[in-house]
Point group: C2
Chain length 359, copies 2
């Protein structure tokens, strides 16, 4: 590997001059010297040593990206189509902007922190991080952070949340189910710390609008690893008799469950309706096609990177808590229940109650 010093020696000039040419500070270097150096740069295809660079400068050009290390049958969260698309978009954008990406999928937050610090990452993108872990990271790591799909606490500064209209999405989906006559709806969430919590609020508001009250026993918390345990699925299968609809917080789970349920003879949507969240490719391909809430993960990934780099370069900090739009996508996984089936309940919303949209 050729170094700046090598080239300086070859031309009989100093390393500073070579460095200046490389950085385009041509106003300080004579035209003649510039040409000589540039010729050499091309000839030897000079590549700077980034370790040396990040040692002298405060920035490393590295952006760390962390995913929760969910262990499902496919061994890793990257297998979730939503995350993989998002991740792909993040990677492209980081590269396009001249930065480098380092990924961590560990659950071990101390290890994550060590990794970031050891490389002195310029910024961090955290996907689906839990509150306590975020606080832990914040206490050690002082560079900019962008959150995606995490619950954003108001008492911590210097970070941006690139979120969704989660509440609105869940609200609209619940209204959709209600309008189709569903009254016994299970809400399936991952945990109550992140976006699922906000979505649940939207769900509650929609129920309230229809004069119904959310019952905590209809809130089913599903940990990712449960999706693979036969026993857990069996339990869900048993519970499903109490409901006409399963409202899931991700397409991935909805699709997995639909597959499991239909293998056991449940007709979808005749016996049980399903809805998802994300609108991944899968949802369009399976039959019945999944009714879901669409988001644009590629756009979201790009925005996250763009925002982070703005913060790193200390340009104006954009909105503190962005909410990207979502859209209800109606397909075939929700049955319309005739009013006769639920004669005791009106299908009209009651008046004068919060309509549940975000702000």
């Amino acid at each position: 590997m050729i170094t700046i010093k090598d080239m300086a020696d070859m031309l009989g000039i100093s390393t500073t001059t070579v460095s200046n040419v490389i950085h385009g500070k041509t106003s300080e270097v004579s035209q003649k010297t510039v040409e000589k150096v540039e010729k050499l740069l091309k000839e030897y295809d000079y590549v700077p040593n980034n370790s040396a660079r990040s040692l002298t400068q405060k920035c490393s050009k590295i952006i760390g990206v962390s995913l929760k290390g969910r262990k499902d049958q496919y061994d890793n969260i990257i297998a979730d189509p939503f995350f993989s698309v998002l991740l792909g978009a993040i990677e492209s954008e980081i590269r396009r902007r001249g930065y480098f990406m380092m990924i961590y999928t560990s659950d071990d937050i101390s290890e994550l922190i060590r990794n970031i610090l050891t490389w002195n990452a310029d910024g961090l993108i955290l996907l689906g991080i839990l509150h306590d872990d975020f606080v832990k990271i914040k206490s050690r790591y002082k560079n900019p952070i962008v959150l995606i799909d995490s619950y954003a606490p108001r008492d911590i500064m210097n970070y941006v949340n690139v979120g969704l209209e989660d509440e609105k999405g869940a609200y609209e989906m619940t209204v959709h189910l209600l309008e189709r006559g569903h009254r016994r709806i299970a809400f399936l969430a991952d945990n109550m710390e992140g976006v699922d919590y906000i979505r649940y609020i939207g769900h509650q508001k929609a129920l309230a609008r229809y004069g119904l009250k959310a019952d905590s026993k209809d809130l089913l918390i599903i940990r990712a690893e449960m999706m693979e345990r036969e026993a857990s699925m069996e339990e869900l299968f048993y519970l499903s008799r109490n409901y006409t609809a399963f409202m899931c917080c991700s397409d991935y789970w909805a699709v997995l469950m639909m597959s499991y349920f239909s293998d056991r003879g449940v007709r979808i949507p005749e016996d049980l309706s399903f809805t998802g969240f994300d609108d991944v490719l899968l949802s369009r391909i399976i039959r019945p096609a999944l009714t879901t809430v669409r988001q644009d993960p590629a756009k979201r990934g790009r925005l996250a990177v763009d925002t982070l780099i703005k913060m790193i370069q200390e340009e104006e900090i954009p909105e503190w808590d962005v909410k990207l739009p979502v859209e209800l996508v109606v397909r075939d996984s929700v049955k319309t229940i005739s009013a006769y089936g639920n004669p005791e309940r009106s299908m009209e919303p009651e008046r004068g109650i919060d309509d549940g949209t975000d702000e």
Copy 2:
């Protein structure tokens, strides 16, 4: 951030001694000093600066991972479930072994090379790389390389291919189709440079065993971007009338096509049979469930990393061209065609011809 020098000053000792304690060279340091230093290390939660480390040492602890930058509707190849699972396994293993992973999904090989060189990556894992690009990388980058799903040329040294029994898989799949009475089979490949070429050889051998000859017009080369172009799909749709089976080189494509075709009224497998390769989750979930060739991407990812690290640490170099096992998984996407439909051809293989298994 606390440095070695800070700690040395605090204790009134030299940086060398602190460094020795950190590296466990306790035989060279007195017990008393070791304890003092270790106390400080804990107290300040010292994290070494890896830029500085990789500057003095020849190794950076970075492993570069490159994917071809396929652009499909989901904007990135990471969205392919096979790749995402593989990638997840690679990431976990790299982390577990104390290394760091940098990902590149660019098609621009010069950029990839610059990235590797600028960080002085200790090793490289290339997924689905084309021959010419591989040669280009090899000419500039001298550290160990592991290939996955790439055609491994024999004239280049110092790399290992972590492959599959591709030929055997395609052979068995073709035999399966033939035994079910199919005679008009289209072989759908990405390109003829990588593993698809080897799979095609297996396909040819199986045909030959049954006294049939592969016809080049039955080899359909599908570029990834075509999957999203309505016109290309329309053309495929038109072509499909000539066949009773589509043998695809990836589950992802098979599933996409099945969805497209069935939306257009094609009954699967009654009108057209489909087979895939990989056995991703998707293939089990869609209906009809896809008949495919199973591989274990998690195992493959781990092996790739393990092999690369062995090469980096100059332990014994393992097999030059590993072939991990594959397994035919029969599901519901292949129709059994009655012998009456193809009376002119025997369904018994001819004798005395190469049976097409790998070596």
